[in-house]
Subunit: 307 residues, 2 copies
């Protein structure tokens, strides 16, 4: 099964306690497409770039089956740029500069051939753009996954809630789940978020792993433990791309497969954290991530406690 | 197998965002003994109390097989008292008052009949007291578990490191693991702590679960997710008591059993968080905790991801 990936394609300048990187390729859709490409052979990328964006990266995506008919190139335009600096805990970060550039005024266009795609990943982006993509679909997709962040809760809550009501899976981090629901307990937060529409709620907790809720079912995976985190930027996007990529490759929206998809997402995200930008994720071999999947599954495996 | 439980028996006054409790029974050993009593039929409690301590609680412990020959009663003395207040996150807390009372100048005495006990739980306490208990043993115990906290790292690091070098399992929380090792990554922290002596390192992460490291093996359990946390005081002690209690009951120090012991500890700790003091842990039925063990194991169970 193919999938649609919507999100930014951008440049990032990033400072972390272990180093810094200047104008590396980033953006939610870059990570989503690279991650999903480990599972699916065909994707449609919906995004926008300026003339300054490197052909090399686009070729890399193309070689991985990422169709770019939905990628708008603005002649003379500059690509979206984000600059940020992480605190010592490698979780908190300050945004130093955001240049919307070509993102400003962009209306996404879903190519005709992609309008009946059954798996849709709405990467973190203005909820009105996420809505516009859904409005252009000719079918009701089997699975729409939406990733978002507190920024949109602060400035566009109504639009955000409106698009959330139309998706199957909402992915947010723990603080955002608390902000969106007004509940401190993540169990209660998930219950409140279910009421907004999504039947599945995935709560990302960074180094502490991820929780998934669906009806009365719960699943938890630890994060893959790392010796050294270089840069967590894009880890959440990678997680999302791995999650939907695995489900699309299995052509399934079942609970068993969703659990496996969470594990796949967590493992891919661990690689993203090991270098600045998309570098580590792009060079990854199948062997690399399969080894970590095995390790991570072993880490959580325990014989039932005989009672 | 029986076990020795060393730790405080105390009164706590506690304020949390959801309420408060005045002079409830607490102290590390109270929680350890109650938790372990779900698994072992015989324990030796090593602690000290004043004349103000309620007979009722001691009777409760006795009915659970907790031998009190090592419990010193100081006539006319007042029991150890702690008063604290939790922040909104239910993790950070401020100590408002500590009255050492009978704890001051107390030297623990291991009763003769307990000196050959094979499972020893050194609850959070002055490391010199933990050391004294080890010095009194007539055999080298099969498994010594030590729980401690940052307070002892701040004021008694040398004594602490000395007793740590003599134990098999060290239990601390994630911040403390970083403080003790000087390493930010918990993987590297565990490696450094192994070098101090303990072959097994258990890192408690509160609502995020617990990690266990032994040689190159790792195990992770989520915390049991709760709708409502009333008071986390004693959760770590309960976790420790459940852990060593399960191992003693299985008469094992093997990796498989340690993994099950971590799950048992996490489940029992979840009950402690549901009420002030030892109340919830004391009224717990076997059915209650077995149900949660089943749920928690189900939460982490995923079919191997076919590759």
């Amino acid at each position: 099964m193919s999938l649609i990936a919507v999100g930014t394609i951008a440049f990032d300048s990033i400072k972390t306690p272990v180093g810094q990187a200047d104008r590396v390729v980033g953006g939610a859709a870059s990570y989503i497409c690279l991650a999903a490409s480990h599972f699916v052979k065909k994707q449609n990328l919906i995004s926008v770039i300026g003339e300054d964006f490197p052909q090399e990266f686009l070729k890399e995506l193309k070689s991985r089956g990422v169709d770019q008919n939905g990628l708008k190139l603005i002649e003379g335009g500059k690509s979206f740029f984000w600059e940020g600096s992480y605190h010592d805990d490698l979780i908190k970060r300050d945004t130093l500069l955001t240049e919307l550039n070509v993102l400003e005024g962009w209306s996404p266009v879903v190519p005709d051939e992609a309008k009946n795609t059954e798996f849709v990943m709405l990467g973190n982006l203005d909820p009105s753009i996420q809505t516009s993509v859904l409005n252009q679909m000719s079918i009701k997709p089997r699975l729409v996954v939406l990733d978002t962040m507190n920024f949109w809760m602060d400035i566009a809550m109504d639009n955000l809630k409106s698009v959330i009501s139309r998706v199957n899976v909402l992915m947010i981090n723990d603080d955002e789940a608390r902000q969106l629901s007004g509940e401190n307990s993540l169990i209660n937060a998930a219950k409140e978020i279910h009421k907004l529409g999504p039947e599945t709620v995935v709560i990302k907790k960074g180094e502490h792993g991820a929780l998934m809720f669906e009806n009365n079912k719960k699943f938890f995976t630890p994060a893959y433990p790392l010796d050294k985190v270089v840069d967590p930027t894009g880890a959440g996007d990678t997680f999302a791309g791995g999650f939907i990529g695995l489900l699309a490759s299995k052509n399934s929206t079942g609970w068993q497969e969703k659990k496996q998809a969470i594990v796949a997402g967590a493992v891919l995200a661990s690689f993203t954290c090991e270098a600045f930008g998309t570098k580590r994720l792009a060079e990854l071999t199948t062997n690399d991530w399969q080894e970590r999947v095995k390790n991570l599954q072993e880490m959580s495996r325990v014989e039932p406690l005989f009672l």
